[in-house]
């Protein structure tokens, strides 16, 4: 027995010798984000090796605000992500409910469409989306343009279909016998039962919208409607720009997501693995 114990100890040691340095390497860029955000540019671009945070966060924030109105872009990002999340949750949970709870003509075709679009590169649709929204409807730099075209989301529907399929049908049949309408069964029985899944879905949808880069880059280039990632990226090529300021922007974009991640890790994992479970 003692032989087994010591071999376990050896394996544990080997495991930690590999994984701890690797883990440190992986958090290093996040740590450096904080270091850069709290140091003046004169220190960032010097021969000194910087590894610890300074105290210039607010000064760098002011410099960022001088380069562009970053708080406005954060406001746009938050509002777009919130509205997108709510609308997308309504669409995907309704569609998931239909696919899980009813037998109907064309059901297989609808599932086929959803799976098919998951494997289709976004580039095939982004050009016509842009032509339609920007040129035909003249909706560039509007809330509608930022929110509506990305609403089609395959993963969300598959996720909600899974959630509703797992519920026993007796739950709903009793209500049906009592003459409760299908809409009310969905709203008052189905949805409340799916609450944990909805939480996971909300996180994944919010994150997707918050970090979305290509579509907002194309459709909103006016400074009043730019989202935070696009605004931040637009500063990279400029010559006279505060990199400490840019890093403050990066921290402001990242920190809330990391906090949510730490506290709601379980929901994150559920959301990410949703696609793998079929």
């Amino acid at each position: 027995m003692s032989g087994l114990l010591s071999s376990n100890r050896k394996r544990s040691l080997a495991l930690h010798i590999i994984i701890v340095p690797l883990a440190l390497l992986w958090v290093f860029p996040i740590w450096m984000m904080v270091v850069f955000a709290t140091r003046p540019d004169s220190a960032i671009f010097s021969s000194e090796v910087l590894l610890t945070p300074g105290d210039r966060f607010w000064e760098n924030f002011q410099l960022l605000q001088d380069d562009l109105n970053f708080t406005r872009t954060l406001f746009v990002s938050v509002l777009v992500a919130l509205i997108y999340t709510v609308l997308s949750m309504i669409l995907t949970s309704m569609a998931g409910w239909a696919l899980a709870r009813y037998k109907f003509h064309g059901r297989i075709a609808v599932v086929g469409i959803i799976l098919g679009t998951m494997t289709l590169p976004y580039f095939v649709v982004v050009i016509p989306q842009f032509i339609m929204v920007a040129r035909d409807f003249g909706l560039a730099n509007t809330w509608v343009a930022l929110i509506v075209p990305p609403l089609f989301n395959s993963l969300g529907v598959l996720f909600m279909r899974q959630a509703f399929t797992m519920m026993p049908s007796e739950l709903f049949d009793a209500a049906r016998v009592d003459g409760v309408s299908e809409w009310k069964i969905f709203l008052h029985i189905g949805l409340p039962l799916a609450r944990p899944m909805l939480a996971a879905l909300a996180i994944i949808l919010f994150l997707a919208s918050w970090n979305n880069y290509l579509w907002p880059l194309l459709i909103a280039n006016d400074t009043s409607m730019m989202t935070a990632p696009v605004a931040l990226g637009s500063l990279f090529g400029l010559l006279d720009v505060s990199w400490g300021g840019i890093m403050v922007g990066a921290v402001l974009m990242t920190a809330p997501m990391l906090v949510v991640f730490v506290f709601l890790q379980r929901f994150f994992m559920a959301g990410i693995t949703a696609g793998a479970v079929k």
């Binding site: 992986w26 671009f45 669409l91 995907t92 109907f104 590169p121 580039f123 649709v125 016509p128 089609f152």
Partner: protein, 286 residues
């Protein structure tokens, strides 16, 4: 059945409407566009200006070569690392599990613009901490943004940093769905941990790893933000220009929608072909 159909389509209607407007119609529209010369108005049917150009444009082949290089190096390295990580994170011997998981999973929530900014500073040729470390061990510094191979390596490093945790989460969930009694039985039969890994864990993980592989192939074929943001729009001199970036330049900087649509369909065809090949070679040969 009829009543059920009506109810079901009632629930599906809003979703299908968005699908019709922003996916179904664009799929058809971009196919039509891929045959149209859109250099000047009115647009005219001229596939030689679109499909014909795809076949012989050296800039397209450069982007294709770069994308396939990234695909061939980054995807296998990342999936191997993700599998090893998942196994290590799943180990009962692991201490401070929460902290270590956080380290690898945190990049999953970080946006491209934010991490591109950090990588640009960390890899800065003159002042970056990476080159200072390289010089610290006595080597000469790497020109990350002006040497084509180094720039490519930088993109591969960045993408791997961002996505390995995502894949490890999926593989970890696959690991946890393997019933424990399989391992208990194997241990009783004196099967070594190494053999357990190769003869039990890996074969049972294959479907999950294949799923990650297909996702990664599709993702790599569409790589855009990293070379756009980190290496200054595919620099140096197009060395990190990917298919996604090339399409972006053609469509949205040159406004050549017809040609860009042909490029888009080429990307789609390649992604489907490579994914299908992966699934074909990874299938259970029974």
């Amino acid at each position: 059945m009829r009543r059920q159909s009506l109810t079901a389509y009632g629930f599906l209607a809003p979703y299908l409407l968005v699908f019709a407007a922003f996916w179904f119609w664009p799929i058809i529209y971009s196919f039509y566009l891929s045959f149209m010369s859109t250099r000047r108005l009115p647009w005219t049917f001229n596939p030689s200006m679109t499909w014909g150009r795809v076949a012989q444009d050296p800039a397209f082949y450069n982007a294709l070569k770069n994308t396939l290089t990234i695909l061939a190096i980054q995807v296998p390295v990342m999936l191997l690392l993700a599998t090893l990580l998942a196994v290590m994170l799943n180990s009962k011997l692991l201490k401070a599990r929460g902290l270590i998981r956080f380290a690898f999973f945190a990049p999953v929530v970080i946006g491209e613009a934010a991490y591109a900014a950090v990588f640009r500073l960390m890899f800065n040729t003159e002042f970056g901490v990476i080159n200072k470390a390289i010089e610290g061990v006595g080597l000469s510094r790497v020109e990350w943004f002006s040497n084509p191979d180094a720039a490519m390596a930088l993109i591969i490093l960045a993408v791997t940093w961002r996505w390995v945790g995502y894949n490890a989460i999926i593989i970890l969930s696959g690991l946890q769905s393997i019933p424990q009694d399989v391992y208990e039985a194997a241990t009783l039969d004196r099967v070594s941990p190494r053999q357990q890994f190769f003869y039990i864990t890996l074969p049972l993980l294959k479907p999950v790893i294949l799923f990650c592989l297909v996702l990664s192939v599709i993702g790599s074929m569409q790589l855009f933000a990293e070379p756009y943001l980190i290496t200054n729009v595919g620099g140096p001199g197009g060395a990190t220009e990917t298919l996604g970036l090339y399409l972006y330049r053609q469509a949205f900087l040159n406004l050549n929608f017809g040609y860009a649509s042909a490029v888009a369909y080429t990307i789609a065809a390649l992604a489907v072909t490579i994914s299908a090949l992966n699934l074909w070679f990874g299938r259970d040969k029974t």
